[in-house]
C-alpha cells in the first residue's frame, strides 16, 4: 500500500539518484532533453512510488492505472523511473537513443511500462480521455493519468480534450502539468503566456490543484484530492524548475534539448553528490 508518511530524506536521495541517472543517460546518448526531465523527477516518483496501481513485473496487467506521457521528450526521466521501479534492467539506459535499443528518443511502447508512443505534442490528453472513458464504460476502476508539458498546452488540441473530459465527467482522469516555466526558445510567459493557467482549467470545468512540484507530500496530497473528487476531472498544476538540481541548468531554455558534455556532467554530478549519497 502507498506509504503516505514517506521517509522524506530517503525520497530526497531517490530524487537525487534519478537526476544523476538522467544526466548520465543523456550524456552518454549525446543528445536528449534534460531540462524537462529534471523538472519532473518528483512527479514521477510520486506517481510510480505511491500513486499508480501498477505491477512492474506484469506491465500489461489489465487493471493497471495508465500514465500517458504526453510530453514525450521527457523520455530520460520516464526511462530512468521505469528502470528504477523494475520494468527493465538499468543497463538498458546505456542504449538510450542508440540504434537497436528499445529506448527510443521519445517515449515508446517498446519500453516496458510505456503506454503510448508520443513525441508530437498535444496528443496525450485526448488519449487519456479515451482511456478514462473506456474504463468507465467497462466499469473498471483503473485511472488515467496524463503528464503534460507547460509549453505543450499551447497546442489547441489540448483544449479540445480539456472540454471533453468534464463533459463526460471523467473523474478517473488526472492531468499533471509540469509547469517549469521554460520552453525550447525561452520563458513560456514571454513566448505565449499561459496565465491565468489555473483559471483556464477551472473555467473548463476541472478540479484544479496547484502544488510545488518538487515537494512529494504536496503531490501526494493533490493525488488524494483527485481520488476524493466526484464528477469532474482533476488537473494538478505542478510548479517546477526546469533543469532542477543543477545550478547551471536551472531555468535555462538552452538545456531543454541539449546533452551535457563530460566536463558539464562532472560539475552537475558533483552538485548532486553534495545533496545525496555519492554512488
Amino acid at each position: 500500500m502507498p506509504v503516505r508518511n514517506a521517509d522524506l530524506k530517503a525520497l530526497h536521495e531517490q530524487a537525487v539518484l534519478f537526476r544523476r541517472e538522467i544526466l548520465e543517460t543523456v550524456h552518454l546518448a549525446g543528445s536528449g532533453h534534460p531540462g524537462g526531465s529534471l523538472s519532473a523527477v518528483e512527479i514521477m516518483i510520486a506517481l510510480y512510488g505511491y500513486q499508480l496501481n501498477h505491477r512492474p513485473q506484469e506491465p500489461l496487467w489489465p487493471d493497471r492505472d495508465r500514465l500517458i506521457v504526453s510530453k514525450g521528450h521527457c523520455s530520460p526521466v520516464t526511462y530512468v523511473t521505469l528502470a528504477n521501479y523494475g520494468y527493465f534492467p538499468k543497463a538498458e539506459l546505456k542504449g538510450f537513443r542508440k540504434f537497436g535499443s528499445i529506448l527510443q528518443g521519445h517515449v515508446h511502447v517498446k519500453v516496458p511500462g510505456v503506454e503510448f508512443n508520443t513525441g508530437s505534442l498535444g496528443h496525450g490528453l485526448s488519449v487519456a480521455c479515451g482511456i478514462a472513458l473506456g474504463a468507465k464504460m467497462s466499469k473498471k476502476s483503473f485511472n488515467a493519468y496524463c503528464l503534460l508539458g507547460d509549453g505543450e498546452i499551447q497546442e489547441g488540441s489540448v483544449w479540445e480534450a480539456a472540454m471533453t473530459a468534464p463533459h463526460y465527467h471523467l473523474d478517473n482522469l488526472c492531468a499533471i502539468v509540469d509547469y517549469n516555466k521554460v520552453q525550447e526558445n525561452g520563458p513560456v510567459n514571454e513566448i505565449k503566456n499561459l496565465e491565468p493557467l489555473a483559471d483556464k482549467w477551472k473555467c473548463f470545468g476541472w478540479q484544479v490543484i496547484e502544488v510545488d512540484g518538487h515537494q512529494l507530500p504536496a503531490l501526494l496530497k493533490a493525488f488524494d484530492e483527485f481520488a476524493a473528487i466526484d464528477g469532474k476531472p482533476t488537473v494538478i498544476i505542478a510548479h517546477t524548475i526546469k533543469g532542477k538540481g543543477v545550478s547551471f541548468m536551472e531555468g535555462k531554455a538552452g538545456w531543454h534539448g541539449k546533452a551535457p558534455n563530460a566536463e558539464q556532467l562532472k560539475v552537475a554530478l558533483a552538485e548532486l553528490a553534495v545533496l545525496g549519497k555519492d554512488k
Binding site: V127, L133, Y168
Partner: protein
C-alpha cells in the same frame, strides 16, 4: 446495370447500416463523431446504440485521439467525419496516435471527391488517398457501392489496426452482389478485355464500365477493374493487366498526384512498364455545382476515360 438512378445508393448508407448490425453483435464497438453523424450516417448507430456513441463536437483532433485511447482498453473504435476534416485537420493524430501506435481505430469518412457538389472546394476532399496511403500500418479502402461498403465495414471491425475508408455522399449504382467476394487487397475484375485495362475506384468504376461500352463500339475491348483497396494495392492484378492488355487507364475522384493513379504507376514503373493514362483532378481545387456538372468540368466522365484509353493504346509499342 445501374441504369435506373432511383436504385442508386450512397456508400455512406451501406456503412451506417452495417455499423448498426456489427454494433449489436459486438458490444466492444464504439463510435465517435465530429458533429457530422447526420451526414456520415454514423447517426444510425447513435439512434440504435446511443450509449456507445460519442459526438465529441467540432474537434477532429480530439475525436481521433480519444478513439485511440478507447481502443487501448479493448474497444474497436470507429471515428467519422467529412474526409477533408478528418484526414487533413487531424493528420498528425492519424499519423502518431493511430498509425505509429497501431491503434485499433477505423476512420470512415464521407464527402470526398467533386461529387460532394454544392458545398464547394472546402468540403471536397481530393487528397485523402495520397496522404493516407503514405502512412505505415494503415489500410485504405474506397468501396464501389453500398454493398461493398457494408462488407468493408464488417471486415475492418474484425481485424486489428487502423483503416481509412472513403464513402460517398453521392448515390452510386449497385455494381456488386451480396454473394460476390470482397477481399481487402484483392481487386475485382468486373469486365474482361484484352486491349486496355481501366483501373478505377468508387464512382469511377461505373464511369469506366460506361467507357468500356463506348470503346466496344469502336472495336476496343477494355478490361475494367474495381480497385476497392488503394492500400495494400493488388500489384498482381495490375501486373497481369499490364502484361495481358499492354495499356492502362486509372480513374479516380482524386488529385492526379499521389492517389490511385500514382499507386498504379509505382507498380508499373517497377514491375512491368506499359503506357498509363491518368483520369483524375489535375492539380486544382473543386468548386460549387451539381455532381454531374463537376464531373464534366474536371474531365472525370466516361468520355474522358474513353479519350484516355485511346491515348494509352496509341502509345503501345508496335
Amino acid at each position: 446495370m445501374g441504369e435506373n438512378m432511383n436504385d442508386w445508393v450512397a456508400t455512406r448508407d451501406g456503412f451506417g447500416q452495417e455499423l448498426v448490425k456489427i454494433g449489436k453483435e459486438n458490444e466492444k464497438i464504439v463510435v465517435f463523431s465530429g458533429d457530422l453523424e447526420d451526414a456520415t450516417r454514423a447517426e444510425y448507430f447513435k439512434k440504435e446504440i446511443p450509449e456507445r456513441f460519442f459526438n465529441l463536437g467540432i474537434a477532429e483532433q480530439d475525436v481521433v485521439g480519444t478513439a485511440a485511447g478507447m481502443s487501448l482498453v479493448g474497444y474497436v473504435a470507429f471515428a467519422s467525419s467529412f474526409a477533408v476534416f478528418m484526414t487533413n485537420r487531424a493528420y498528425d493524430m492519424i499519423r502518431l496516435d493511430l498509425c505509429y501506435n497501431d491503434c485499433n481505430v477505423k476512420i470512415v469518412c464521407s464527402h470526398a471527391g467533386v461529387t460532394v457538389g454544392e458545398d464547394g472546394a472546402s468540403a471536397q476532399c481530393l487528397e485523402d488517398f495520397a496522404i493516407m496511403r503514405v502512412l505505415p500500418n494503415i489500410k485504405v479502402i474506397c468501396p464501389v457501392d453500398t454493398i461493398e461498403a457494408a462488407k468493408a465495414t464488417r471486415w475492418m471491425a474484425s481485424v486489428h489496426g487502423p483503416v481509412y475508408m472513403r464513402t460517398s455522399r453521392a448515390p452510386l449504382p449497385i455494381l456488386t452482389k451480396a454473394e460476390d467476394d470482397f477481399v481487402v487487397g484483392k481487386a475485382n475484375c468486373l469486365r474482361p478485355g484484352h486491349d486496355v485495362t481501366l483501373i478505377a475506384c468508387g464512382l469511377m468504376v461505373y464511369e469506366s464500365l460506361q467507357a468500356a461500352e463506348i470503346l466496344k463500339k469502336e472495336g476496343i475491348d477494355a478490361r475494367v477493374i474495381n480497385m476497392h483497396t488503394i492500400k495494400p494495392l493488388d500489384e498482381k492484378t495490375i501486373v497481369a493487366a499490364a502484361k495481358e492488355t499492354g495499356a492502362i487507364v486509372s480513374a479516380e475522384e482524386h488529385q492526379m498526384y499521389g492517389g490511385l493513379g500514382s499507386a498504379v504507376a509505382e507498380v508499373l514503373a517497377q514491375k512491368h512498364p506499359v503506357p498509363l493514362e491518368m483520369v483524375a483532378v489535375k492539380d486544382q481545387f473543386g468548386q460549387s455545382g451539381t455532381p454531374q456538372e463537376l464531373l464534366k468540368f474536371y474531365h472525370l466522365k466516361d468520355v474522358d476515360i474513353v479519350e484516355a484509353a485511346r491515348r494509352a493504346i496509341k502509345r503501345k509499342s508496335k
